[in-house]
């Protein structure tokens, strides 16, 4: 591992506006090699915009982005990818009715043959795909011809992460990878995140599930209404404190106390929901 002091990816006071609407305000973030940065935030906090800015879909209105300390500018997602920033979305960017091997190499197919008559090297694709996925700890996948639609959500995520790692990603952006998964499946994905970290990747893990974030995160940033509301290292805050922060500062404990108080005085009925 090289110098840990220079972050692999850094944002400095990045603003993003769409016309008159400001979505991100002075976002400063950094993520180091072999580290997981957890980006927490409720729905509508600006997580998606932040990810899209990091992965080159949007360009910052103000502020700068640096990779290894050098300013970078991404005009297209492809630019970010070429710099080694891989984004894996909720459903992993996998194609259910294509085989594991074809999925793994979509867009970067290994070929054999000469001239214009190139042949998709199915065996090589399948072999590498299965090898890489197994290395990530998914041992249930042994046949590269199998359709991805038959895999579980966690396995699909793992396939997508393995693909990103194989194609030389240095920064892995995981957009709510555990949101649609059951407990077991989510644990699976979290193990893969740890594996990616162990291999020295810088991981940005976006979630609104505090438990999942606590399980893998080294560094946490809480996003509220487009601004970083808190930025702390592992162990600095408890689960409750983080949940409170995400809920917009309103204390969850207060809320719970209110509900309990109401229930005591109303024969165990819960309060009418506020509109």
């Amino acid at each position: 591992m090289s110098d840990n002091k220079t972050p692999v990816l850094e944002m400095r006071k990045v603003d993003k506006s769409f016309g008159p609407i400001d979505v991100l305000h002075e976002i400063s973030l950094k993520v180091n090699q072999g580290e997981v940065l957890c980006l927490l935030g409720d729905n509508g906090a600006g997580k998606s915009t932040l990810i899209k800015t990091l992965s080159g879909v949007h360009q910052p209105t103000r502020g700068e982005m640096l990779m290894d300390g050098n300013p970078v500018h991404f005009d297209r997602p492809r630019d970010a990818q070429e710099m080694g920033i891989a984004t894996v979305h909720q459903f992993g960017g996998t194609y259910p009715l294509m085989s594991v091997g074809r999925n793994f190499f979509a867009g970067n197919e290994p070929t054999k043959g000469v001239g214009p008559f190139k042949v998709f090297d199915r065996q090589k694709a399948n072999r590498i795909a299965v090898e890489q996925v197994q290395k990530m700890g998914i041992t249930r996948i042994t046949d590269g011809d199998r359709l991805v639609g038959g895999l579980s959500g966690g396995e699909r995520q793992s396939l997508a992460i393995a693909r990103a790692v194989y194609f030389g990603a240095r920064v892995l952006i995981l957009d709510e990878p555990t949101a649609a998964l059951g407990v077991k499946q989510a644990a699976h994905v979290l193990r893969i995140v740890n594996e990616a970290k162990r291999r020295g990747l810088a991981v940005i893990f976006i979630t609104h599930q505090v438990m999942h974030a606590m399980a893998v995160g080294d560094h946490f940033a809480v996003l509220i209404r487009g601004a970083i509301a808190a930025d702390f290292r592992k162990g600095a805050k408890s689960r409750e404190e983080i949940a409170d922060l995400m809920a917009g500062g309103e204390s969850m404990a207060d809320l719970e106390a209110n509900i309990e108080g109401y229930m005591e005085t109303h024969d165990g009925h819960v309060p009418e929901p506020a509109h």
């Binding site: 979509a106 197919e109 038959g150 579980s152």
Partner: protein, 362 residues
């Protein structure tokens, strides 16, 4: 335990080892279309045996019909796998024919120059389709519906303006061009009483269809581009993010389907020695039926060339086969509708089998 595992244990099919290979066969994506073809063939073979359905000449009747639909159906299948639709082919078939006829008769082109010119015109229309779809995000059904009528209008208008007629003649231009584009071919071994007919009165379009099918099979299943087409239909955003040039690919596919339609128009013109501007609305439905019966997913992301070929054969038999049976000919459309429904339901079942394919076998 996953879905795949539970299905495996619940299904009565899993059991003795011998049924396993059969199950594997059914899991081939084109299995549904192939099974459907065999059933339909046996059905019409049985009811049509008295009326020569099974003879070489009888087979040519539906094979010739199927070939013309089939040449267009495969590129349409590519588009559908990529998540798009092209119904402008109905106007591109006559366009291909009249451009060729006018090139030769009116402008005095060499027949092959005419063919090339006709392809160029078709490719340009396909390019316009592709550009409109990729640039405007208007659904391709609407875009190609518009170009269908625009091209149909142009066919009639330009025909009259340039040549003064909507019925163009195209006299035989040479042995080679007739042989390749529009003639009847027979292969009979031996002669006299020992003659054995391999095929009889097959049109050139049948052989062109085989060539198109082989070429398209290569593109979809052997070359790396096939992966791009499937990925684009599976999830276009992911495909674009993976570096696949989705817009260019889509435009290319629209050009391909337009050129395939023009090719059919040309073979018809050369065979019949005339070309008419009549828009072939029926072919729009015919090609879509063949593609769907062939197991291509309407929403994109799945399909095989082999499946579409089987689908086209099935459709050809059902469309023409009723003439060989004692059934009332008015039932033809009903048969086709039923075929479509049964095929879609069957394909869903087979596709589910394919996705649940487990790797449990040692």
């Amino acid at each position: 335990m996953t879905m795949a595992d539970t299905k495996e244990t619940d299904s009565p099919a899993s059991g003795p080892a011998s049924s396993f290979s059969l199950l594997d066969l059914f899991r081939r994506p084109e299995a549904g279309a192939a099974a459907g073809f065999i059933l339909i063939f046996l059905f019409f073979g049985y009811f049509g045996v008295d009326k020569n359905f099974l003879t070489a000449l009888g087979s040519s009747t539906w094979l010739n019909f199927a070939s013309k639909v089939g040449i267009i159906a495969i590129p349409i299948a590519f588009l559908m796998i990529a998540g798009e639709l092209d119904i402008s082919v109905g106007a591109l078939i006559p366009a291909g024919g009249i451009v060729l006829a006018m090139s030769v008769e009116h402008f005095g082109f060499n027949i092959w120059m005419g063919v090339l010119f006709s392809f160029v015109v078709a490719a340009a229309i396909g390019w316009v389709n592709g550009m409109l779809v990729t640039r405007t995000q208007v659904p391709s059904l609407i875009v190609t519906l518009a170009t269908l009528f625009v091209v149909a209008g142009l066919n009639a208008y330009l025909s009259k303006q340039v040549a003064g007629t909507t019925q163009h003649s195209l006299p035989d231009a040479g042995v080679v061009s007739e042989f390749i584009l529009g003639d009847y071919h027979s292969l009979i071994l031996g002669d006299g009483d020992s003659a054995f007919t391999i095929f009889r009165s097959l049109q050139s379009s049948f052989f062109i269809w085989i060539a198109v099918a082989i070429g398209c099979f290569y593109v979809l299943h052997v070359s790396p581009w096939g992966n791009w087409i499937l990925a684009m239909g599976g999830d276009e955003d992911s495909a674009r993010n993976a570096g696949i040039p989705t817009d260019k690919l889509k435009i290319a596919l629209f050009m391909l389907s337009a050129m395939a339609a023009a090719l059919v128009g040309m073979t018809e013109a050369v065979l019949a020695n005339t070309a008419s501007t009549t828009t072939q609305f029926g072919m729009i439905f015919n090609t879509i039926i063949c593609v769907v019966v062939g197991g291509v997913l309407l929403t994109g992301g799945f399909g095989t060339v082999t499946g579409v070929v089987f689908g086209t054969l099935t459709f050809g038999i059902v469309f023409q086969g009723i003439n060989f049976t004692a059934f009332d000919k008015d039932l033809n459309m009903l048969f086709i509708g039923a075929l479509l429904l049964v095929a879609v339901l069957m394909n869903d079942t087979f596709r589910n089998l394919a996705t649940s394919a487990s790797t449990k076998k040692k």
